[in-house]
Symmetry: C4
Subunit: 222 residues, 4 copies
């Protein structure tokens, strides 16, 4: 990159370096704090194995939240992989996404603590689902904003962008359906949230196209 | 950049890379730890929806602190966007800012816990406001120091620098007024702190100048 | 690197920058959260020295977990040192490793709290060992996947790769043996886990080959 | 840097990028976790101002630990500023430093909780001082190792290196004296630890040489 280009980029747009570093920090902390919620009650010495097994709602909530934050992080890296620069508004939209992501440990704890209790279970699953829906919607918004403002690499084809953008719609639909399911069978909704996250994370299409995979070229870091 | 330039920069100034990384880490953790303060009391199973709703002071405190740390982070990225290098004193001033920012979860908790109690509410809002005022003043100091020591990009126009510098004065004034308001109506002060942070975060001037926006040039990362 | 190469790398593979940053974040948090588990019980004022000494299981658990996460981080940096790019599947496999690593504070706490209690000690040591085994296996899998998919630097010799790959087998064997030992003498297993981590961390072969060490060339950062 | 140089550096030494990122993460978390220890006891509503004031040992401990970790971070950035590469042993020595730094929140809490109690105060101040001494010694060791193994920039003059190296001796001496002082007057020792950290952080010599300061050259980031 010539110095002139750099100058131009610097004056009209913002570097995305710090936005990426800050986001990675928040994602990493939100995903790691979840484990603090897990613990056996005092006085479990006599039957620790039973007490550890009894914590399954905590493990489930941990797994769902980890998978969901992991999926959001994955989508976020795809977006920044295509970004050529940032505008003020993009950085702010990203802050809004981080607000929702870093809130997630609270509903995670609600689900972990109240999965046994009938009525409370329903409330916890709904609060949780709404948080997941919001996070997913904000990632989608971030992508659409970046695409509309032409902040994406000019060499990305329309087909690539449409394909990436469309991934977002089924997640939103899935969360809406699962929130409704959760009003009747809360546990099923939580399993549904896990299924959505796993669906985003596991690269099924990559598995299918396995034989024809393109090898990445060597790319020196830094 | 030629090797000679690099050498010169290295000997007389410090790279800002680690100052940015360390600051991003502290900001990210301070902003994410806030959620640990939120929780429903034990024995809320019977009316979890009510218990979740009763936590509104926690959500408000979370939102205000998140918005404030987000706003400080934004200002901080603007400063480092213009920085060409760091001096020993700048790195130390930055440490002082991080001291104040990472202290914020404590007054946040004070506000969340005591918003109902008459006298305590006043104390909590004041301690909180003083912390926010200090953080804002230190960001301003950091900017002025960098400008005075000519650590900013030589291609930044005086008009740009003055415009950026002036943003700091209304925040400080706003915090001072709100601290006084908080002595009478604490809750109003907390809402005022939120308004100040939102005012800094939302790029109103960008919204107004929308039609004439300049597109950022593609800038390869790294 | 020419712009064309960059383009090619960008389209067929992913940059590893954010995978490294996110992983460093999770490793750093998981390794630092461990200290939150350590504390003396309330009312230890009369004999604080005794109370501090009584916390030895906490210190031991802290040390073992710190050493293990440190060892995994070390292996991880060796892998990314050789990586030329990432595939979707590699990023996902890495997420799975982070899931297991960030879970570690929970069994660490189990060990710290139950080392005195007979039966519970056995359960805690086993849960802990299984977690360590899983983490170690996933690092090995990550390495083998990267080698098989030819994501490693083409200039790395087969001998280097085999040597690095073989390091993984003794760890897995060691963990399996120690899990079995832990069913009889749990404390011995915990000390064994420490020994495995120390064995990975301390560069014995480097110590032996000391005289013939090659000096690294100067490498400007960034 | 030519590709051949890069190759050479890569094969014989390790990049310091991830060591820096991981260290920044651990430092940032250790320094931010300290605030979690601060809180007013339940039932302080009636006199919150008094309760907030009563927490002064917590604020003091927070300040001392923040200043100390900040000082260690500063020294660490100076070291990596001069580093041209890393060896296996340097990365491991760095891990040992991080072990000691991330342990610091525990003795910090001990000091904050026991500053009122006579005997306990002495124990807490001593444990705290030993931790600070160890951290300081390990930073010194890191520097000496890097200097001895010729991992530092060849353009650094012997005078620079000696000057930097000598800074370490007074800190160690200071900590030793203060640990002994703490056996008699614990609070004075804690204030002494603060003085040592402030002495390292505040660039007194820079203040003295103010008039003759050299301006850093512009250095584009990235």
């Amino acid at each position: 990159m010539s110095s002139g280009d750099s100058e131009a980029a610097r004056r009209s747009g913002l570097r995305t370096t710090r936005m990426e570093a800050f986001s990675d920090g928040v994602f990493a902390i939100a995903i790691t704090l979840l484990v603090l919620e897990i613990g056996v009650p005092d006085g479990s010495e006599d039957d620790l194995l039973g007490a550890v097994a009894d914590q399954w709602p905590s493990y489930l909530a941990y797994l769902v939240s980890f998978a969901t934050i992991g999926a959001i992080w994955l989508k976020h890296t795809v977006i920044t992989e295509y970004l050529t620069g940032a505008t003020s508004a993009l950085v702010r939209l990203n802050l809004l996404l981080l607000l929702v992501v870093s809130f997630l440990p609270f509903p995670t704890r609600l689900v972990a603590e109240h999965i046994h209790a009938d009525e409370a279970e329903r409330v916890a699953a709904t609060v949780y689902g709404v948080n997941l829906l919001l996070a997913s919607a904000l990632v989608g918004l971030l992508w659409r904003y970046a695409a509309r403002e032409r902040l994406l690499r000019p060499d990305a084809t329309d087909r690539e962008l449409t394909a990436l953008g469309l991934q977002l719609v089924p997640s939103l639909g899935g969360y809406l359906v699962m929130i409704l399911v959760g009003l009747v069978v809360p546990l099923l909704a939580v399993l549904g949230y896990l299924a959505i996250a796993v669906y985003i994370i596991v690269p099924f299409h990559a598995l299918r196209r396995r034989g024809s995979g393109v090898r990445p070229e060597p790319e020196p870091q830094g």
